[in-house]
Structure formats: C-alpha cells, structure tokens
Amino acid sequence: MAPNPARRWRDRLGRFKGGRWLVWGLYALAMLVAPLLFTSSLSLTMLSQMGIAIIACLAFNMLLGQGGMLSFGHAVYSGLGAFFAIHALNKISDGSLALPVSLIPLVGGLGALAVAALLGYVTTKKAGTTFAMITLGIGELVSAMSLMFPGFFGGEGGVSGNRVSGPTVMGISFGPQIQVYYLIAAYCFVATALMFAFTRTPLGRMLNAVRDNPERVEFIGYSTQRVRYLAFVGSGFFMGIAGGLVALNFEIVTSEVVGASRSGAYLLFTFLGGAGFFFGPIIGAVLLVLAGVLLSELSQAWLLYLGLIFLLMVIYAPGGIASLIMMNLRLAAMGKLRQIAASYIALGGTALAVLLGSGLMIEMVYHLQLNESLGPTMRFLGARLDTHALDTWLGAALVLVTGVLLFELVRREFARQWGTIHQEIEAEAQRAEAGA
C-alpha cells in the first residue's frame, strides 16, 4: 500500500526539524569562529559590521519580504536607535545612569520601538505605494530634523561616546574590538532567532496573509492596518537594536545614520540577498559590508557597479541570491544540476568578459574625468593602459560587445535547458502523484 501523503509529509518535516537544529548550530558556530579565521583588524571590523547589518536587513525584511511593505525610510529607526544608545552611553559615562554597557543596544531597540509606535501609526494607515511614499517623507523629515536639533543629533560632528565606561565584568570592558564583536554576535544570533520565531506565530503568518491579499484578511476577522502596525513596531525594535550596536561599535553617531542613503542600502541589499526567504537578508547584509568596505577600496566607481548589479538582479533574478540558491538546491536534490553545469560555466565566463569590458570602460571614463592630472596612463588589473589611445577604447568596446553577445546567446540556451529540466521535474511529480 502506498504511504498516505499526510504521513509522508510529516516524516519529511521530522527530518527537516533535525536539519534545522544543524543549520542554527552552524550559524552560531560561524559567528563564533569567524574572528579566529579572519584575524586582521580589518576583517574584525567587517565582521562586526556584518553582524549589525544582518539584524538590520532581517528587521527590514519583516516588512518587505513578510509583509510586502516597501519602506524607503527605515534608517530612521536604526539611526534614532543609535542616537538613543549613544546618549545612554554618555549618561553611563558621567555616572547618571547605572546600566551595564552590554544592555545599551536594548536602549536603542526600545527607543526605536517607541518612535516606530508613534510614526508607524501614520505610516501604516495605508499600504502599497502610499505606504512607501509616507516612509520616504518621514525619512526626509527626520533627516532634515537631524541638522535642526544639534542638541540631540550633535550637528555636523555627531555625538561621540566611550564604550569603556561601565565597570569591567569578568575582564570584559568592551575596550578591545573582539569583545564588541562577540557582543554583536550574541545580539545577532538572538535577534535572528527571535525574528525567525516571529515568522511562525499567528501574527507572523497573518502578516504574510496581508502581503498576499489584504482584502481577504479583513473578511477573516483581522484588521490589516493593525497587523501592519504591529509588524512595523516589531521591525522598528530590531532596527533600533542594530542602531544601538552601531553606537557601541563606532563610538560615534552622526546624522548620516538616519539618512536616505542608509535606507537605500538596506532596501537594495535586502532585495539582492532575497526578500522571499528568511535567510536572504543575511546574505544581503554580508554583501552590504563587503561592498561598502572592499568594493569601495577597489574602485572609485563602486556605486556604479553596484547599481549595475542591482539592475541585472532585478531583471534576471528578482528573487535575489537566496532564490537562486534554493532553485539550484532543488535541482541538486533532484540530481539534475549536472545537466546545466556546463551552461553555468559558460554563463560565468561570458559574464566575466562583460564585466571586464564594461569595467575597463567605466574605469577609463573615471580616470579621464577625475584623475586627469595624473597623466593619461592608468593601471587596470596590473596592466598600464593609455586612456587617450583609440585602440584601448576599441579593445575595451570589442571585449564588451563580444561579451554581451555571447552572454545573451548562452543565456537563451540556458533558459531553454532550465525550462526543459523543470518540465521533467513537473512530469515526475505528476507521475508520483498519480502513483501515490
């Protein structure tokens, strides 16, 4: 007798639960050992920033991925959280507040929660485009206010603090960066776990329902506005935690933390990582820090490259990196990944050619526009190139055009193969269904 499908499903769930512990264990382990593997002070700085960015992007995705709410001003909550935290830190320093420094991020979180509870009331009255516009407006408002109230925002210079101001407990003074890193890692792990847990609660599920079909939600007893509001406040809390950690990590908070470019970065990288999956924003956050620290070192035109990547992702992989990973894992599980491995290599190769050609041209334009005083020669990937010579430009254009043409050819072939494989999978699933 064929096993009943419900039981089969539960068996699979049981196995998956074991897998879930493994995933969480690995996640904790990665955070524990990362500073032991990457020991330079630059990598420790980056790891600390990644931990913070992970909390922020996950919190942002509570709205974007789980609730379908596109916020253009979410840096308001992380930024204000950071300001609350740095003021609390300074109060600890001058002795007027008795609070362990390790709890400072909670001050940021609760402060941001209060702000979100207030502003969210206005913001979440509407959904969709109106919601996005209101968040944009509030973002600009707070950003403008940050220069109007130097008492709280510290004016141009920002507010600085000193995290080594509490009592040293068991040798932990938060002086060395590694101690701050582990504090961030602990907050990051707990915040991730809490936000994951949220997705499995009644409110978390109704938030998905509001994303899919707000109208129907109203007809099964829920106020969509209330669901959006509560999610917004929760998201604000975790944004504030991230902000509080920013304050501890940098010991200075300037008005740019509430600015539009910060909000834009959360949106961009959450999307890039993949808003449709819980772990997508984690990938996005890691990329955010890598791009901001490493890519910006590599090239002056890094924002331009970032824009290009974002554009290509939106067009070709709107589910973000997480969805690419999941699709390929599914193929691998079905044993079909090998069928398209060659296409992947071809895609990668041609993409590299496109990158090389376009990168060369972009760098030459930048050189001509900004570094003219250094003379016409420029270094690119170790080679010396004359930016005034016509053949350098022709060469770059040739590489670019060839790359684009080949990429398009390979992409079409790839799309065809992809379609065939999915038809096969579909057919197999139907056979299994009929046989069960």
Partner: protein, 260 residues
C-alpha cells in the same frame, strides 16, 4: 425571535446612480436563501453592503438583531458573518493548509499574538485539517494556493469562508465558471459544509439555486421584489414580469430537470 440577517430599507448610491433602492429582507436563522436577479440588479453590491465592504448610503443592516451598518469587514466577520468572493480571493503565496489556518485563527481567539507558535496551536491545526478533509484537498495540503486548479481554488475559497465557523455564510456565485459535473459535486460540498448555518448565495445557475435554497429572493433594480419559497416565487406575477426573458425559461427548464 430576531432574524439572523435583516436589511431595512437599505440604499446605496455610487455618485448619482442609486444601485440599491430600498432593499428590505429578513432571513431567519438556518434558512438557505438564494438571491437571483438579472445582471446589474445589484446582487454583488448587496453582498458588499452586508459584509461591510461598502457602507450603505442609508438604511439599516442587522446581524442577529444587532446593527452592523457601517462597521468594517473585520468587525462584521468577528460577529459571525463570513463571505466568499465571485473571483477567488486567496492568500496566493501560502499553502492550502496555511490559507485555512489563517482563516480559523481569529475565531479561536489567537488575535495578533506573536508569543505563541502556530505549530503548537492544536485546536487551530485540527480545525484547519478538518476543513481540509471536508474540501477533499488533503493531497494538495502543501501546494501554494496560486498553483491550484480552478475548481480547487473555488473549493478553497469556500473553505476559507466556512473555516472560522461563522453562523451566517454569504456565497457570491460559488459555482461561477465551473463545468456541469464540477458544479454538481460542488453543490453537494456546499450543502455539507453549511449544515445548520444561515446561507445566502448569489447564483445564476438555476439548478444550483433549486439544489441549495429553501427560499429565493428576487432582486430587480436594487429592490427585493419577492422573497418566498421557490414555487411561490415562480408563480409571482411581478417576478414573471421582470423575468419575461431568459431567466424564467431557465428556471422552468431547471425545475423540469429536477422533477424528472
């Protein structure tokens, strides 16, 4: 005893056009009523008024004797009235089971809680599984609603409507777009899941009307011109006048088919 649902001189205008022109109707608890009428008579608008999607321009609507005029849909839903839609209105990116579980949460008192895990809500899970079994969608339990066939989506639409255990059920053309054989099975399903409830349905298919309803309300130009048992409605002079065309022929054909 007060009626399960009562409309008192309900009017609704969109701009200067009056769509519902003083509709009055009192449906007793446990009655199954089909609302019929020519296209544009305002049947769907009437449903939208009762379920709170729109507020009436004037008049009063009572649910179990208590006024619900002007309340929002979720407040009306909490008082025990559920409705389905003519075009399936599902949570497309959630599985069939999740769709049903969402639909039972409020009625079981879970409200906006974020301190309980769904997996531990035994009553909600059992109720969702129970509805799943009634709909005969067990094998599609974990399929996303967007990937269901049309008939399955219609079934899930009904499932979401009845899952919360509301006492008054409004079904807006539940069998629209279904084939004859599907319709037959579907009417059985509806009858089964609405046992003991007050049922109002908008329907064009006369076979379905006679299969489901004990009483028929005829809506013409925003007014209820007749509300009675099927035989009496068929004999009603005003109805015949309004329906001289196709509907009457349909009704008689369907009645003949039923009788045979």
């Amino acid at each position: 005893m007060s009626a399960a649902i009562e409309l008192r001189d309900v009017r609704k205008s969109f701009g200067r056009t009056e769509i519902i022109r003083g509709a009055s109707l009192a449906v007793q608890s446990g009655e199954r009523v089909a609302i019929i009428g020519p296209n544009g008579a305002g049947k769907s608008t009437l449903f939208n008024l009762i379920s709170g999607r729109f507020g009436p321009t004037s008049g009063e609507i009572l649910l179990g004797g208590r006024p619900i005029t002007g309340l929002s849909p979720f407040e009306i839903s909490r008082r025990g009235l559920a409705r389905s839609f003519q075009v399936s209105n599902l949570f497309t990116r959630l599985s069939v089971f999740e769709n049903l579980r969402c639909a039972v949460l409020w009625s079981l008192g879970y409200k906006y809680s974020f301190w309980k895990f769904l997996a531990n809500l035994r009553d909600a899970n059992e109720r969702a599984e129970e509805v799943l079994a009634k709909l005969k969608l067990e094998r599609r339990r974990d399929v996303l609603a967007m990937n269901l066939t049309y008939a399955e989506q219609r079934a899930l639409e009904i499932g979401i409507t009845i899952a919360g255990g509301a006492g008054v059920i409004l079904l807006d053309e539940p069998t629209a777009g279904m084939s004859k054989s599907e319709t037959g099975r579907f009417v059985d399903l509806i009858r089964e899941v609405t046992v003991g409830k007050t049922l109002l349905t908008v329907e064009h298919d006369m076979g379905v009307v006679f299969g489901l309803a004990d009483k028929i309300a005829v809506l013409v130009y925003g007014e209820v011109i007749a509300f009675d048992e099927p035989a009496a409605v068929r004999a009603n002079a005003r109805v015949q006048e309004a329906y001289l065309g196709s509907m009457l022929a349909d009704a008689q054909a369907a009645a003949a088919a039923q009788g045979a």
